[in-house]
């Protein structure tokens, strides 16, 4: 019985894969080949590829032209689905993927664990308040993901275009006009309308470029192995270890980073506190009356990169900001000493005159 219980939990956790569109670099040159990566799993690790027939829409938007991507442009490598394409003219690009809905049946405990694991606390709370924790679930889910990247130096307005997905994030500013330390507001749309009071998570992963910093590995380098459903792998600095899930263990969550909630206008604001690849993610999960289902969820993510300087020429700066800060500190120190010195001589002369 215990084994069955664990198996249900593990299967539920493995089924809850978040989808992300990622690039090795979000600053690209015009008219060059690029590979867009579609991750299904965690932000760090893709667990499985996505079948082409699941993709309802794959679009690349630039200079107000929306290009539908054909199936032949997709390839696969390990568990990552790859889209090869060539950038066009300079501009701020948007790429999006929207998938067909699928359904999944889960036992009550597995469903509750999945809600906690993915940070869908509103539904978990609802189930607690309505004595529904023991109810099993049949959930219809679909995923709709976007990424914004900068090609060349020219900033275009495509970042604000609504792709028309069932759920999607639309930034209120071009992320590539922002720097580390700024804040970004995003509007969350559900069927084209602002979605209020929705939990949204914003987090980042440091870019592999030299100027960026690494992520907190014990928090972020976690992943799952589909090779053996009983194992649950976490990597740490000393390597990696696997362990059987234990009843007493607190389930870890994929909902890390800044926990935000959209306001009445469907807007959530994140502080872009560090260099890296940032992502917003949300799962809108509601009860449904649809025949054969108990719940319906729409998943959305948005990825982009934040650096201190967004100019592609300055993209390799290393600790320049800190050098600047150090110089300012030295200048401040020397200036302060100079000021105290000047004041000292002035007061000293005044005192000497008074004594004379």
């Amino acid at each position: 019985m215990k084994k069955i219980f664990f198996a249900i939990i593990v299967i539920a956790l493995f089924c809850s894969h978040t989808m992300f569109l990622k690039l090795d670099s979000y600053f690209l040159e015009p008219h060059t080949p690029v590979t867009l990566q579609l991750f299904n799993g965690t932000f760090e690790e893709s667990e499985n590829v996505i079948d082409r027939n699941r993709m309802l829409d794959v679009s690349i938007l630039n200079n107000s032209v929306r290009t539908k991507v054909s199936e032949s442009q997709w390839t696969e490598k390990d568990s990552i689905t790859l889209l090869n394409f060539k950038t066009g003219d300079a501009g701020t690009y948007v790429a999006g993927v929207s998938t067909k809905a699928r359904s999944l049946e889960m036992e009550a405990d597995a469903f509750n664990d999945y809600l906690e694991h993915e940070g869908i606390y509103d539904m978990l709370e609802w189930r607690k308040n309505n004595n529904a924790l023991a109810s099993k679930a049949i959930e219809k889910y679909s995923k709709h993901v976007k990424t914004i990247f900068q090609v060349g130096a020219i900033k275009t307005k495509d970042w604000q275009t609504v792709l028309g997905y069932p759920i999607e994030f639309v930034p209120l500013k071009n992320p590539y006009n922002l720097n580390t330390g700024d804040s970004l507001e995003v509007k969350l749309l559900l069927n084209g309308e602002p979605l209020a009071n929705q939990l949204v998570y914003a987090d980042y992963k440091a870019h592999s470029n030299s100027h960026s910093h690494n992520v907190n590995e014990d928090e972020k380098e976690h992943g799952h192995s589909h090779d053996n459903l009983k194992s649950h792998t976490h990597k740490d600095k000393s390597g990696s270890h696997s362990h059987e899930p234990k009843e007493s263990e607190e389930p870890h969550t994929h909902a890390s980073g800044q926990k935000l909630r959209t306001n009445a206008e469907g807007i959530a604001k994140a502080h872009l506190s560090a260099d890296g690849i940032w992502y917003f993610q949300t799962i809108h999960l509601v009860n449904t009356e649809e025949e054969g289902l108990t719940h319906e969820s729409n998943w959305s993510t948005l990825t982009f990169e934040v650096t201190h300087a967004h100019d592609e020429d300055t993209h390799t700066h290393e600790h320049g900001h800190e050098h600047g800060t150090n110089y300012t500190m030295y200048a401040l120190l020397i200036g302060s000493l100079l000021l105290i010195g000047v004041l000292f001589f002035w007061f000293n002369r005044k005192n000497n005159k008074n004594e004379e």
Partner: protein, 225 residues
Amino acid sequence: MRSKKYVLSTLLLLFPLLLAAHGVSASDQELLNNGGLLSYIYVGAKHMITGYDHLLFLAGVIFYLKGFKDIVRFITVFTIGHSITLIGATYLGIKANEHLVDAVIALSVLYKGFENLGGFEKYIKVKSPNLLLMVLIFGLIHGFGLSTRLQSFDVGTSQFLSKIVCFNIGVELGQVLALIPIVFIISFWKSKRSYKAFYKAANLYLIIAGMGLFLYQLYGYFNGH
């Protein structure tokens, strides 16, 4: 008259130098991500040593005190004050706009310089408030500022309390390291004939620096810098 002009022009030249703030750096974040608990001690100490607003306030307090016992008493009260808010606010996730918190900290620097120069008696015609109480209150505010800074790092959730405590330990170590030369210079100068001029110059500087930092933080708050 000439010397007054000289002082004024120097102040104007140096004013922009007051407008630098000690912020969160990517290298510190990197260190915290990879360095374990010791890195929190290091970053805490570094923040205190480079956190000139905290040090200026402490220097102002040292100026007022007589003898080593007095220094230990006041610094202990300041430490208790900032430890309460640093650990408490960070643990509970309480934070405020960092510009506003830093603006109040800047006012504490201005306050100390003003008090040391006898401003309360001279200009407001009232007795200075109890310094020990004020040091405790300002300690709480400085701790809140340190907490706001710590919360702007991505600390994560594992070993959360240990990380906060280590950062606080670092702050205390940094404070001690920074106080050694400050106490030494002030104590050394006290026996000199020119101490009166040094006292006035340093405390006038505290007023100028406090005002400069205050205006800078307000500018940052209203302009989203």
